[in-house]
Subunit: 271 residues, 2 copies
Amino acid sequence: MESLFVIKIGGNIIDNTEALNTFLADFAVVKGKCMLVHGGGKIATKIGDKLGIESKYVNGRRITDDETIDLVTMVYGGLVNKKIVAGLQSLQCNAIGLTGADANIIPATKRPLVTLSVADEIKEVDFGWVGDIKTDKLNVQNAKHLLDAGFAPVFAPLTHDGLGHILNTNADTIASSLAVALSAFYDVRLIYCFEKRGVLENVEDENSVIKKINREKYKQLINEKKLFEGILPKIDNAFAAIEAGVKQVIIGHADDLIKNTTEDNEGTLIY
Amino acid sequence: MESLFVIKIGGNIIDNTEALNTFLADFAVVKGKCMLVHGGGKIATKIGDKLGIESKYVNGRRITDDETIDLVTMVYGGLVNKKIVAGLQSLQCNAIGLTGADANIIPATKRPLVTLSVADEIKEVDFGWVGDIKTDKLNVQNAKHLLDAGFAPVFAPLTHDGLGHILNTNADTIASSLAVALSAFYDVRLIYCFEKRGVLENVEDENSVIKKINREKYKQLINEKKLFEGILPKIDNAFAAIEAGVKQVIIGHADDLIKNTTEDNEGTLIY
């Protein structure tokens, strides 16, 4: 099968013009089929503050109320997404900017009320216009049409409920869902760009990247208590994607993108 | 050749939720290939006011400065465009929301300084990030890929300069440029939805729609001084589109969309 890179960048890159430009220049020269999923960045909060939209959180998780979904639709789906597209087009990369509503590629369900312990009280929390992806309903044929036409789809972290509402959805989850669904047609390498070079054996030493982790190695690392706790969910998600059909997952730094699309990866390859 | 409808709606529909929903319900059931181009609406000015972005005009034409291009990119390319897409998707219309930067479909040039008489003084006016479409460079093959894949492209009134900048471009001009370029592959009917039922023989009588106008009839109407002056540029543009290959142009009301996609039009057919 032909290979496909599904690449995710987070807010730390989007908020930094120089880092973003460097990243886009690298993305534009990656060989083969590519897809980008971007996070939101702090710009939505900045614009929301100016508009007098209050950021509301429960247990550290943002509530997406009516005003907030309009805000993130504007900022993620418009400002951030189209800046990335215009930037890539200027680099001769044929980007096409999308949300999960476009071509109905990522249908989702508005998250139901969640029972949570908030400040020692059990509450039913409504997170608002947040979408949980219908992973078995992705319109993978539509995504494939775009890839086969030579486009590089660029996804904002937004989905839709099929009832006319845009929904706020985590970019990591969008990336892994697309990677899994597209594994039916491509050998997919899912690349998460984050702020470290990879999974570190010693969290204080950027040179201690573990180049390859399989299940066996992962168990061993956990037993030896070598891994920083914060990285465990990322690795668990990577193995879940692999179980579901993704060929390889890389956790690495945005600066290492080009190397991480080759066999000679700088980041951590999970396989 | 297969037929294609290129349909343009303006701010008057976008600003009115009920009118927009009615329009989208009609658009969703139009038979055959369709493309939508939408204007901006007053929402950008409202949000701009809240953000403290001053609207600047010279001789009634808006200046698109740095803040304003970000504003319209957010609002037209994000909020308005994605609401329309999510709405159409809820009606089983496979919409895909785009700007002219996406898939590089509409390359443009930043408008050079314009020499204008402003308050009795000759001035060089910089309209800022405004794009004049490179009509001979439209990536019509990319638009065709999307249409042939079964998508209904929905364009925000934005283009790009190929150097990484989004540009503000008039929606009527985008619609006619797309209609002309796509005439190479389709029998195109370009439908402008506006606030009247069509070109009126008596501007005060909505029942006086002139059903068909060709060049001969147009000359006659002008000689008889029957036409309202404001409509002349629209008719001139319609004939220009027809000269350039568009098969038919309709000027009509959004409420008459379905009829205006049939041979039995309610609006004014220019041919």
